[in-house]
Structure formats: C-alpha cells, structure tokens
C-alpha cells in the first residue's frame, strides 16, 4: 500500500497540473455549494439582526448563559466518557481478536459489528420497551418491586453514555484491528528479547504503534457522540448542547440556536484537534506495514473460553436493543408489560406495514405514490451514483495528484462527519426558503422543498455520506500499485483509457463497498429526511417510520416491524462491504 505522498517518488508522468487544478477547483466549488453554503446560511442567521446587519450579541449571549455553557460542557463530558468507554470495550476485543485464535472467533468478531445496524428511532423504541419501569430488565433484576425501576427516568446521563458507547465501539474496534494487524511482530519480539514484561510490551511498544488507529476511531466517536441527538432525546437528557440546539431550532424567530451551531461546530473542530494532539496521526505510522504478519496464538480449553467471554458479554449487551426491536415488532400491541417477553405474539404489524400506502406503492383514487421504500431506494441510488462520481475525483486528487492543497480536499470530504446532520438539514431548508423569498412562485422546483424535495434530498444524502465513498476509494487507490498505470501508459495507452481499463477495474471492489455503505446509510438518513420531505408522496423510509411511530397505540410496533427489515438490510450491507474489502472495513470509519 502506498501512502499519498509516495506518488511523488514514482513521478507519475508529468502531472498535468492544469487539469488537476481544474478538477480540484470544481470539487471546491462543489464543497462550497453542498457544505459551505448550507452551513454558512445557518451560521449567518446567528450573527445577523432581523434587518440584516451583523451582530455578536447572540454569541455573547451564549457565552454568558450558564445553561448553554453547561450544555456544551455536559455534551463534551458525555462525548469524552463515551469515547473512553468505547475504547475500553474495543481495545481488549481488538487485542484478543488479532493476537489469538480460538473457537468461534470469526463469528464472535462479526457479531461485534452488529451494533452499527441499529436504525434510528427504532433502536430508541426498542430500548424504551427494554428499559421501561416494568420491563424485562426490571423483572430480571427485581421482580418484586412494587413501583418497578425507572431506568429511563433515573440513570439518564449514564444511560446515554452506555448506549452510545455500546453503539459506537465497533468504529474504534475496526480501526484498532486494522492497526494491530499492521504491526510488525519483530518489534515486539525484540522488546521481549530485551526483557520487557507483557505489560511493558503493551504499554511501550504496542500502544504507541496503535495511536493512528486509536486516533482514527476515537476522534470519530468523540465528535459523533458530541453532536449526537437521538440518544439524549430518548433518555430525555435535555441539558446537553445538541438537544438544546434541536429544541431551540424549532422555536419561532430566534437566532440564538444559529449562534449555538457556530459554537458547536467550533467545538467539534477543537475536539478533532484535541484528538490529533493527544493521539497524533502520522502518515509514517499509518504506512507502517508489517513485513511479516504476526501469527495469532492458538488458545484451547479454559483459555479459549476466557478469550471468548468478553466478546460474548459485549455482544449480548450491545444486541439488547436489536432483540428488543424484533420482539416489539412481533408483540401484540401493549402485550409487553410486566413480562420478560411479550405475552402474545403476532405478525399483524408486518402486515400493516406492508399494506400502508405510506410505505408501499399505492394506486388508488386518492394515492398515486411509489411509497416510502421505493422513494428511499430511488433517492439513495441517485445520491450514491452522484456521490461515487464525486468521491472518485476526490480520491484521485488526494492520492495521485501533485496538488499542494490536496489535503484540503481530504479534510473537506471528511467534514460531513463533523457537522451535525441537523445543521446541514436546516441549511438546505433555509436555502430553499431563501430562493422562495427571492423568486416566489417562479422558484425552480428542484430548489423548492415544499413542491419537490427530491433534488435537495439527493444532494443532501450525497453530501452527508460522501466520507464513506471517499475513504473507500482512497484506500483502493492506495492499494493499487501506480506501476500498473505506468506500464499501461508505456504501452501507449492514453490517460483516460488507462483509468478506464486499468485503475477503475482494480478499484471496483472498494468503490462498490463504499457506495453500498453510503447507499444503506442514505436509505436510513434521518435529519434531512425529517426536515426536507414535507408531503407524504415524497416521504423516504425514515420519515415514514417516524410518522407511523407517532400513531397512538400500535405506532411503535409497526415502526419496529419496519425497523427489523432495516436492521436486516443494514446487516447484510455491512457483511457485503466486509466481504468486498476483505475485512478492511475499518478504512471506511476513519476521521
């Protein structure tokens, strides 16, 4: 594998800087349009008076408001605690999975990725059933308690940290596994020969070399949990910055939340810098590729059991919400009350979901719509195709170009990971409103979220999920020896032909993997879907699930039925991506 800087040594022909610069500039324009514009339109409102002049009054109000400051600090504390917990879960699992071989390891390792397939909302619905006052957890712990245990009401902050850590540890795990697999066993052997104990070896040799993987995974978890909205909302923790932002965003006529967005974005960048400072990200360390692969030590009997135990515990804990979602979807409405399992089972919620005109195609006098599933497939496919083309150009410039500012392209393409989904969604909405202000009824349909949100949804999905496709394409290009391209060119092939006939086929698996992941996550995208799709004929699946979940009585159950399907879909997508990348899934989840 070649690091991005190595192409210089090969001197890939005479790079046509003009064409590269033009492509780079086009990309910058794209980023400015799909990221810069929406973000700045949200931010600007926080620094503008109603008459359009600039003011710092709202920023100063936030910095003087103890509640908002406390919200920021609490979000920071939760993200730190979540990251440490996620690392504490992932580190032993990573070491065990790379250094040792034991029975069922492959299955157990695969199952540790399952927390990532929990769809939004529905996971929360499952957790609410599981953690309800008289729910299964209470009955297992204290079945005699007259008033049950109010898990969701009492252990709120702790609940947020544990739930987020159990959902996000796979990102750290994937990155650590990749780093560990790349370690040269000779270094460790040399340390052992010099008398280092196992602990010294781990602390002085292994851990420092793991830093790039640790940085890549934990920074993502740090920022993700700092801006996470769904979990604190589920536990009703309202005094954290993302929830304060969400709550105030929907209040009328206040620029305060827009100023708060700026503070949160700034804090996200600080967190990224903090991660970089603490854990570093040297290309040299990332490029450390083992000359020899370390052979895992085979464990038998009690030692194998001891190695498998942490996997079993973590998998069991992290799969509880999934199990709860499946059980909810199969429970008769209201039948999971004062019982460990639902008292009565039914498939009626699946039937309802499949008959609902909101979900499935419907051609009656009232409804002529494709339904939310078909809509989502359409939007996500278009977004993935569009995003893949952008990602291919970005990856080419990042890995193969001589552009001095290629790291800027790298950073910008990763930026959607650091920007809360809600901010981007509000940004797109405010752009749409801005055009309606200016052009009124003459506004082109693709800019009018009310008339035809499809265009904006596709652009938003593509922008939000770009990092996965870019990371995948970059990884693929880095692993594609540039000498093959040179050989083709030496044999008279033109640059375009070389790309089409040599590079692109070699990239197929990586591109497909990134695209598949982007497609699946786009299919289940929340913020953009909730805000931009305003009429039911354009609903994507997440908005339809949200809408159904609001229905009194059976809403949560029908939503869980759809959630079960979404989990299976996400699960198969991750398995397919894993197979395509030969288990190098970690490359896609790096900050």
């Amino acid at each position: 594998m070649m690091a991005s800087g190595e192409s210089k040594t090969f001197g890939f022909g005479r790079p046509r800087l003009g064409a590269q610069q033009a492509l780079g500039l086009l990309l910058l324009v794209y980023f400015a349009l799909v990221l810069g514009w929406p973000i700045s339109s949200v931010i600007a409102s926080g620094f503008q008076t109603a008459k359009g002049s600039w003011t710092l009054a709202y920023l100063s109000l936030i910095l003087r408001d103890p509640l908002l400051l406390r919200g920021l600090l609490k979000a920071f504390a939760i993200s730190l605690a979540t990251t440490f917990t996620a690392v504490a879960i992932a580190l032993p699992l990573a070491v065990l999975s790379v250094k040792f071989e034991f029975r069922a390891k492959r299955w157990l390792s695969a199952m540790t990725l399952l927390p990532m397939v929990l769809p939004p909302f529905v996971g929360a619905l499952g957790m609410r059933m599981l953690l309800s006052r008289f729910g299964p957890l209470t009955l297992l712990i204290d079945s005699d308690s007259a008033l049950g245990i109010d898990w969701l009401g009492q252990l709120r902050t702790l609940g947020v940290v544990v739930t987020e850590a159990l959902g996000l540890y796979p990102i750290v795990l994937l990155n650590l596994q990749a780093s560990l697999a790349n370690l040269d066993p000779d270094g460790e052997r040399a340390a052992r020969n010099l008398g280092a104990s196992k602990w010294q070896l781990f602390r002085r040799i292994t851990l420092p070399l793991l830093r790039p993987g640790l940085f890549a995974g934990s920074t993502l978890v740090l920022i993700w949990s700092f801006t996470e909205l769904g979990t604190p909302l589920m536990f009703q923790v309202h005094d954290v910055a993302p929830v304060q932002l969400y709550m105030r965003m929907s209040e009328i006529d206040s620029p305060l939340p827009h100023a708060l967005v700026t503070v949160m974005l700034f804090a996200s960048v600080l967190l990224y810098a903090l991660g970089r400072l603490l854990l570093g990200r040297s290309n040299a360390a990332q490029a450390t590729k083992a000359v020899r692969v370390s052979v895992p030590q085979t464990l038998q009997g009690a030692r194998a059991l001891a190695a498998a135990l942490p996997f079993v515990v973590v998998v069991m804990l992290s799969l509880l919400p999934h199990v709860a979602v499946v059980l909810t979807s199969l429970s008769k409405t209201g039948a999971w009350y004062h019982s460990i399992l639902p008292r009565q089972f039914t498939t009626v919620h699946y039937e309802k979901a499949l008959q609902d005109p909101l979900i499935m195609p419907s051609w009656t006098a009232q409804h002529q719509s494709f339904g939310a599933i078909a809509n989502s497939i359409l939007y996500a496919s278009a977004a993935t195709l569009f995003g893949s083309a952008i990602a291919l150009v970005a990856a080419f410039l990042i890995v193969r170009s001589k552009l001095r500012w290629r790291s800027l392209i790298d950073t910008l393409s990763m930026m959607p990971l650091a920007v809360p989904g809600l901010v981007l969604a509000f940004g797109y909405l405010s752009i749409s409103v801005h055009f309606k202000h200016r052009w009124g009824a003459q506004t082109p349909a693709f800019l009018d979220a009310q008339q035809w949100p499809v265009g904006l949804l596709i652009v938003a999905y593509a922008a939000r999920r770009l990092p996965y496709v870019v990371r995948s394409a970059v990884a693929g290009l880095e692993q594609t020896p540039v000498v093959l391209e040179h050989a083709a060119q030496n044999l008279g092939s033109g640059k375009a032909r070389t790309w089409l006939k040599v590079t692109l086929p070699l990239l197929t698996a990586h591109l497909l993997a990134g695209a598949l992941l982007a497609f699946t996550f786009a299919l289940l995208e929340v913020s953009d879907s909730l805000l931009l799709a305003q009429t039911s004929e354009f609903y994507p699946i997440t908005k339809a699930i949200w809408e159904l979940s609001q229905r009194p009585g059976d809403g949560a159950y029908v939503a869980s039925a759809l959630g079960t399907w979404a989990m299976l879909l996400l699960g198969s997508s991750l398995l397919a991506v894993g197979a395509l990348l030969n288990r190098k899934l970690g490359t896609l989840f790096r900050a």
């Binding site: 109603a50 509640l67 620029p255 497909l512 305003q534 159904l548 009194p552 009585g553 894993g578």
Partner: protein, 520 residues
C-alpha cells in the same frame, strides 16, 4: 471465493426488494376509481388517522355534490410550533407580516390553501395575519354553530363574526391520563383534579410535555393558572359581597395577580413531580400506557385512543371537574388562495362543518368506511350530539361544560408565560428536582411542607410578565431585532433567577438533612 464475495450483495438486494415481493405475493389493494382530478393543499399537525379519514370522506362528499373527487396533499410539520414557523417563513417571504398592511393578494401564494388544527390560540394569536375570511354558503355557519361561544370561548373568529378568518371544527378538552394499575400499586386514589398531581408520592412519576414544543401542553398549563385566577376572582367578589364594598379595578388586578401566582405555585409543585419534560405532546400518554409514568397532563383524544388500544386498566382519562377547558380546533383558508383553489378550500371547511364531517370525529371504526379505528374526538356542532348512536364516546361536552373555560382576556400573558415556564422548570429541572427530592427525604413533616411551599413560591409576579410583554410589544413595533435580543436576554435572566431560587431552597433542605436526618 468470488462467489462468496458477492453473495452478500445478492442477499442485500434480495432483502431490499423483499417488501415488494411479499406485497406482490399477497396482493396489493387496488382501486378502479379514476385518479382524483382536483387537488387541495393542506398544512396540518393532525395525526395520520385523522388526515386519512377526512381526505377520503371529503373526496367522496365532493364527488357526490360536485361530480369530481379531490386529492388532499398534506404538508405535515412536526407539531404546531413547526407549523407556525413554516407559515411565518413562507408568508414573511411574500411580505405578509402580522400588524403590517396586507399586500396585493394576487401576488401572494405560498403553495398551501388551508391550515387545519393546532388550537384556537394558534389561529387567533400566531397566524391570523396569514388567514383570509372563510366564505361559506349562506346559513351554513349559523346552522353549524348557532352560538358563537362555549362558556366564553369563541367557537369561530369572534372579531369578525360575519366573515370569520377561522372556524372551529372540533373540540379539544384537556385533562389527566393515568395508569390505574400504578395508582393501585401506589395505594393512592385515582387523580380527580390538577392539584392531585402535586401529591409527593407521585415524585418522578409524572409525564409532562415541554410547553415550548407542545401547544397542547402549554394550553393545559394555562388552564391550571386560569383556574387559580378564576378562584381568586371569585374569592374577591365574595369578599366584596360580604363587605358591601364596590369593585375596585386595582384591587381586582391585585387579586388576579395573586391567583396567577397561586397557579404558578401549583405548576411548580406539579413540575417538581415530573420525571422529565418530553419534546412530544403524545409521549406522556405513551409513558402512562407503558407504566413508566403514573399520570400525565394530556389532550383528551390521544388518551382515549390509547385506552381503546391498551385497555382501561392501563390508561384512563379524566377531565378535572370545573377545571378542564374546552377549546375549538379550527380550520382556515390561507391568504393568497384564490379562484378555484379558494372555492375548493371553502368547500373543505363546509364539509368539516357538515353533520357527516362532524360525526366522523367520534364514530366507531365499524360505523364508517373511512375509519380504521375511531378518532375519539369531540365534534363542535351541538346538534350532532342528539344522535350518538354508533359513537365511540357517549359524552356531551355541551351538557357537562361547567361554566369554567379559558378566558381570552387572560390569554394575553400566554406567550410570555411559556418563556417563564421554560426558564423555571424545563431548563432548571435538575435544580428543582434536587431541592424537591431532598425535601421529601426530611423526617420532619412540618418542615417538609414549609420548604415545599417556599420552593413553589416562584420569584415572579404577573405584573412583571405583563410589563415584559408591554416592553416586548413596543420593541416589536419599533423593529424586530431588539425585541428578539430582549426576549433572549430576559429568558436567560429568568433562568438564572429561578436556578438560584431552587438552589437556595435546596441548600436549606440539605442543611436540614444534616441536622435532622432523613425519613427512616
């Protein structure tokens, strides 16, 4: 190896299309009826069940009367607050503002024809500038709503009754949803009125919604405050009658201010029992049904629908006698709706007011082809209550209305009271709960009651809120900016003041705990 590599892709594709395969296998419902040829665009926070039932029923009604069916395109905001923001954005772009002269209507069209649901306060105070007079055939409004009000609450726009800009089409009542099973476990009688929710044994067992996000929750809080104001007013008049004095406006105002303060104190005690304040107006009822909360302040129909689904051992609804408001849920035609669209919009209003449209709110599911389950809401037409056969609820709100209802003249503090509530117990819930739970642990019952009284004595008076409102109104007239900043600053200042208050009482409770100890 290649096969394995791509086999997961095949599984993924299969799963992706499974719903369509299953649907094709079991057969999709189809209809031979031609697609609807008219389209009405309606913005509404109403639930999915309500939207579906009325769309189909209106289309059929329209086809029977005018020969053409109608498709309703609903714009669905995430609640009333979102709907108001949406309309403000849309009309602001067209130069239509509250208080400003309306521009040429021909040039305004925001792409929506009708606004439906969200409560009379929203229509009267938040979006009235965007509404145009409803134009119904002669006699329709008079036949549907012969009396313009119900116990003092206007059933349609009272300011221009000849050409109302909004018309109520259903009634909402607010009350208490509770879980009988949990009350039995608590060994407490079922709640009957708002003050029952201050019972300390309900600490951490109340589910309440955030009044900034849920319009229905805000109205429920206002009912508690206005009931206390009405009591104070009645007490004042009783004193006058006993002493033979004549009424004095200043004294009356002072009595009302005391009532407002008493109402706020009651709300603080209720808020202190809350396990949290949810962002969704419907979640409190769900939590009661699931047994996570013992009781909730709730809008009637949501609790009734849930009770029907889960059984009345899990959820019951009670409207506190003499302290539950009945308010109209309106519909209106939006400014800029002209020509054929306006005709259709007015027909929709006419249908909602018709006997057929009214009965749909409360018919049993088996009594109407448009219902999958009963909507359990109260019609606004008094005459349809005469025949309640096939209805889901055999209640007549007109017969049970006890004289108390929300008073419009006291609603002037409504918008600003929301800011106070938010600052007091949404943003400071942790400080409030800390003080309250420490007090409840004290062994001395007298001290407990004393400290709870102090805690609920919120350091704010009605006069301060009214002068805040006056200042805000003035600033709003001068220019929007200062008003926004003033509002944000004031809210932050209130939040700080209330936090200090709760922390002060909390400190007293903690030091009493150190000296006297906890309940054994």
């Amino acid at each position: 190896m290649r096969v394995g590599r791509y086999s997961f892709l095949a599984i993924f594709a299969l799963l992706l299309f499974t719903p369509f395969l299953v649907r094709a296998w079991v057969g999709a419902p189809t209809s031979d009826a031609p697609p609807a040829d008219l389209e009405l665009r309606v913005i509404t926070p109403h639930t999915l069940d309500i939207r579906r039932a009325f769309e189909a029923a209106f289309s059929d009604w329209h086809r029977r009367r005018f020969g053409r069916s109608v498709k309703i395109v609903y714009l669905i905001p995430q609640g009333t607050t979102d709907m108001v923001r949406y309309l403000r954005d849309a009309y602001g772009a067209e130069g239509v503002f509250s208080g400003a002269p309306a521009p040429d209507e021909q040039r305004v069209h925001v792409g929506i024809d009708v606004v439906w649901g969200g409560g009379d306060v929203t229509f009267e105070r938040e979006i009235k500038a965007y509404l145009k007079p409803v134009n119904l055939p002669a006699g329709v409004l008079q036949a549907a709503l012969p009396e313009p009000d119900l116990a003092g609450v206007a059933l349609y726009d009272a300011k221009t009754p000849q050409a109302p800009r909004w018309v109520g089409v259903a009634l909402s009542s607010f009350g208490i949803a509770y879980n009988p099973d949990l009350f039995k476990r608590l060994n407490r009688p079922a709640p009957q009125t708002w003050s029952d929710l201050t019972d300390p044994s309900l600490s951490g067992l109340l589910a309440l919604a955030d009044p900034m996000r849920s319009g229905s929750a805000a109205v429920a809080y206002m009912i508690v405050v206005q009931r206390a104001m009405a009591d104070a007013e009645a007490a004042y008049h009783a004193r006058l009658e006993a002493s033979g004095e004549t009424s004095n406006p200043q004294q009356l105002q002072s009595a009302l201010a005391q009532g407002y303060h008493a109402g706020m104190s009651l709300l603080v005690r209720i808020a202190a029992n809350a396990r949290y304040f949810t962002e969704s107006g419907s979640r409190p009822c769900d939590d009661v049904g699931q047994g996570d909360a013992a009781a909730a302040m709730a809008i009637d129909f949501y609790a009734r629908v849930l009770a029907e689904e889960l059984g009345d051992e899990r959820v019951r609804y009670i409207a506190p006698a003499g302290a539950s408001a009945l308010t109209p849920d309106p519909v209106a035609v939006l400014f800029g709706t002209l020509g054929e669209r306006e005709v259709l919009a007015n027909r929709f209003v006419e249908f909602l007011l018709s006997a057929d449209g009214q009965r749909l709110w409360n018919l049993r599911a088996d009594a109407s082809p448009y219902l999958k389950r009963s909507l359990r809401r109260l019609p606004i037409r008094r005459d349809v209550y005469r025949d309640r056969s096939q209805w889901a609820d055999d209640t007549d709100p007109f017969a049970s209305a006890s004289g108390f209802n929300l008073r419009q003249e006291w609603m002037s503090s409504f918008r600003d009271s929301r800011d106070v509530w938010s600052a007091a117990w949404i943003e400071n819930h942790d400080a409030l709960r800390d003080a309250y739970t420490t007090i409840l642990e004290l062994s001395d019952a007298g001290l407990r009651e004393q400290l709870i009284a102090k805690l609920s004595d919120l350091p704010i008076e009605l006069t301060e809120i009214l002068s805040y409102k006056q200042k805000r109104d003035e600033l709003e007239k001068q220019g929007k900016e200062d008003s926004r900043l003033f509002q944000a600053n004031q809210r932050a200042a209130w939040a700080r003041r209330f936090r200090e208050h709760f922390q002060e009482i909390g400190a007293l409770a903690h030091s009493a705990m150190d000296t006297q100890g906890a309940v054994p």
